[in-house]
């Protein structure tokens, strides 16, 4: 069976899942079996089939599992959102269509050779940084500049910026990886890269610091900087560069911690979520993280079942805030238990595995680094938000890719997926030829 047929078959369980999910929500809500759930399942299947046809014609050799795995996450997100708020789900479904269009557009535009991106690397980098600085024009939410309002649409540019920055880094490191290694000197037992090439790397570090200070978005900076370190490591195979980078980042974060109350608040809320004072604190307190943990505790091993989690009562403010964005993982654990949470993490891990696999079979350095970077940034994003929600690390607001509510997140992650599939198609085609 060739790749595309395997993909087609894999999409069937994804559609069944969305049908079953909607059915569960309907039954829970009205005690009646509405054929609407079947309709939603069919629409979803039709959309996926559309994307599949695009792939069949443009990227016949691309990895057959990536798209169905993402479809599972996306449909899971839709059902979850539908259960929280029908209007949100309808919105998200529209964004899902937009995301698929961008997905198809990216593929069609770059299908001959995605390596043209290398030519525009500095423009892409500038666009990425500009995107990141855009929200500074607006007003902060919870002490961080996260979104930019374009008419009625709230837009989170960090989502798109992460792709731009990965493209730039992959391209830049392809050029400099050799010199970084060859010119390296050992000093006090640590290998330092040559000064001449250190400049651009310091610039990346500086950008991460600027992000940290200007937009005060710790989550995004950790994501970017983590992807950067991952790429530097893969490009040079020097663990010392990673350690130096981590040290510098920690330094910057420490300074910011001393200067900005937002970050200090988050850290103390993380350390003491049930402290009376922090819990009752209106802004930047620990209420959210405490409620997130309570939701998970409520889930147990098997969960309360679809639609059974207590999110809000009557017209009072919700018990679990931001259930549709930052805390959607807590809702998943609440309703589907530890097993549901583990299943979601497993799907992400499978996607990550396919991503790295793509990187490993790619033949040119740029493609290798691009696939690695895109996969790493996705993995880190999942780690940052799920880690925050589960109190593994301080909470910082980023979306859970493909699941959380948010147009920019869906669109950006579908573009990310398109790039991965582009790399994969070329790599597998070349592997077959050889």
């Amino acid at each position: 069976m060739n790749e595309r047929n395997r993909e087609l078959f894999a999409l069937i369980p994804a559609s069944l899942l969305v049908t079953a999910g909607f059915t569960a929500v309907f039954i829970q809500r009205d005690d009646v079996l509405s054929n609407l759930s079947l309709t939603y399942g069919l629409i979803f299947l039709a959309l996926c089939l559309g994307a599949h046809v695009v792939l069949r014609f443009t990227l016949p050799h691309a990895d057959p599992y990536l798209f169905p795995l993402v479809a599972v996450l996306a449909c899971f997100g839709l059902v979850m959102l539908y259960r929280l708020d029908e209007d949100l789900a309808r919105d998200q479904a529209q964004w899902f269509v937009v995301g698929l269009l961008c997905f198809a557009g990216t593929i069609v535009a770059l299908r001959s050779d995605h390596r043209v991106l290398e030519r525009y690397r500095y423009s892409i980098a500038l666009v990425g940084i500009a995107l990141l600085l855009l929200p500074r024009l607006g007003s902060p939410v919870n002490g961080a500049y996260l979104s930019f309002h374009l008419g009625p649409i709230a837009f989170q540019p960090a989502e798109l910026a992460k792709i731009a920055i990965v493209i730039f880094l992959a391209s830049y490191l392809r050029d400099t990886r050799q010199v970084l290694v060859v010119g390296a000197r050992r000093f006090m037992g640590i290998t330092f890269p040559p000064l001449k090439h250190l400049g651009p790397l310091l610039a990346v570090w500086g950008t991460a610091m600027v992000l940290l200070f200007v937009i005060q978005d710790l989550g995004s900076s950790v994501m970017f900087f983590g992807a950067f370190l991952a790429l530097v490591y893969v490009a040079t195979n020097r663990i010392s560069f990673v350690l130096i980078g981590l040290g510098l980042f920690a330094l910057g974060a420490r300074v910011l911690y001393a200067l900005r109350p937002t970050i200090e608040n988050r850290v103390s809320a993380w350390l003491h979520p049930f402290d009376d004072k922090l819990y009752d604190q209106e802004i930047g307190g620990s209420y959210q993280i405490a409620q997130s943990i309570f939701s998970q505790a409520d889930g147990g091993l098997f969960g309360q079942g679809f639609g059974q989690a207590v999110i809000k009562l009557g017209d009072a403010p919700p018990i679990l805030p931001a259930a549709h964005t930052d805390f959607i993982y807590a809702v998943i654990t609440n309703e589907l238990g530890l097993l549901g949470g583990a299943a979601v993490l497993l799907v992400y891990l499978l996607i990550i595995e396919r991503g790295f696999k793509t990187a490993m079979i790619a033949t040119d350095s740029f493609s290798k680094l691009l696939a690695t970077g895109l996969t790493a940034v996705l993995a880190l994003q999942v780690f940052v938000i799920v880690g925050g929600v589960t109190k593994l690390i301080p909470l910082t607001g980023v979306t859970l890719p493909f699941i959380s509510y948010g147009g920019s997140s869906i669109v950006a992650n579908f573009i990310l997926l398109a790039l991965l599939l582009l790399v994969s198609d070329r790599a597998r085609r070349e592997a077959q030829v050889r």
Binding site: Y233, S295, G299, V310, A359, M360, G387, T390
Partner: protein
Amino acid sequence: MNAPILKLFGVILLLFAALLAMTSYNSVINADAYRENDRNARPQIEEQRIHRGVIRTRDGSVLARSEEQESSLYKRRYTDEGRLFAHAIGYDFLRSGRAGLEREYNDELTGRRNELASVFDELRGRQRVGDSLVTNLDAGGQRVARAALQGRKGSIVAIEPATGKVRVMVSSPDYDPNALDTKAAAEAPLINRATQSGYPPGSTFKVVTAAAALDSGQFNPDTTVSGNSPIQVSGAPLQNFSNAQFGDIPLTTALTNSVNTVWAQVAEKLGRERMGDYMKRFGFGTDPPLDYPDSQMRPSGVFDIEKERFLPSDLEGVDIGRVGIGQERLSVTPLQMATVVATVANDGVRMKPHLADRVVDLDGRTVERIEPEQAERVMSASSANDLTEMMSNVVKEGTGVGAALEGIDVAGKTGTAERNIAQRINQPWFVGFAPLNQPRIALAVTLEDVRGAQSQGGAVAAPIAKQVLQELLK
């Protein structure tokens, strides 16, 4: 570059393992602790989805039931009769929390069985339904008791001596439990005076002193002691009521006429240790073993205001003579005094008081029965019988004649604690039981801050006790 990519994947696997570990910790490993966290309102919200069991009186009238709301949530509704029992049964509302029997028997009322049974029920598609609770409370007795207090502040507790079943528990003023659904009530009416208010017991405490005196073997009902007044007790003069002179009189006469000077001397002769020992046996110094939330009960004993605690049973440093007549810093609950007389009535054996009788499931089967349980033998049966004899004289010809019933012999003791001598504000008491040979009811009646010349226990509390006894012995 493939080797570092593999290693990077390894690092990410580790990070995800940490995520999984943390999720497991939150949702399974440490979930119970999080569920019990005070900040966590979820369990209570969850329980609003359960059809909570009914609470009934001993003869089956419904006091509290669950009503289904729009969003398939249930809400507690208390019947008109339920108001009579406000303090005993408590309340259960999302807004105001949970108290009384609603709190103590929450697991039963919400149908919580063991984990395995619940899983099976869920698999069979059975919705969790609460079991109902049948109490020992008596609607007639409760109504008469409440009416007799006429809205004055006070409390009445009636217990079956042989079983410890609580038949009446009234605290006045009371409140409408249904009102707690929409607004948090003022704190004061919520207090259950039967279990939460510490009052000076006055002369009713002489029953404890008499029990210690008889059971220790140092005294018998005919032992004579000088009843002259005043005498010096702990360096301060102590008088009888109206400074009456009695001469040398037997203990029976001293109890009948509530002679302070005699009982102060008896207590001094018994000493702190012995008095403390008998108080402990009666249950002073610890929370009563009632099936009621600990947060809504308090112990009785000698209360040290400065150190804000009850003195231990060695009673070091107290004026034991004045303790013997119910003065000093004694602070007792009506439930404790009812327990004292119930013990005397039950041949000296103290039973654990209990409000609930049984838990009944949806099909009417009794799931759990609260059996009578002995707490402690306080004194020998013969001492108890002697004391009963002495107490019957109080009602026959002494200060307690107001409690006498036609055709039924009553044993009792009055008390009048002076709250404010100049303004003649008193705390009248009556404790007692009936019928004499086969006691069926023991009770304590007290009122707060009664003014005027007719504010003694015999004048105010004894007639109320009579009404309640009459109703319960009907």
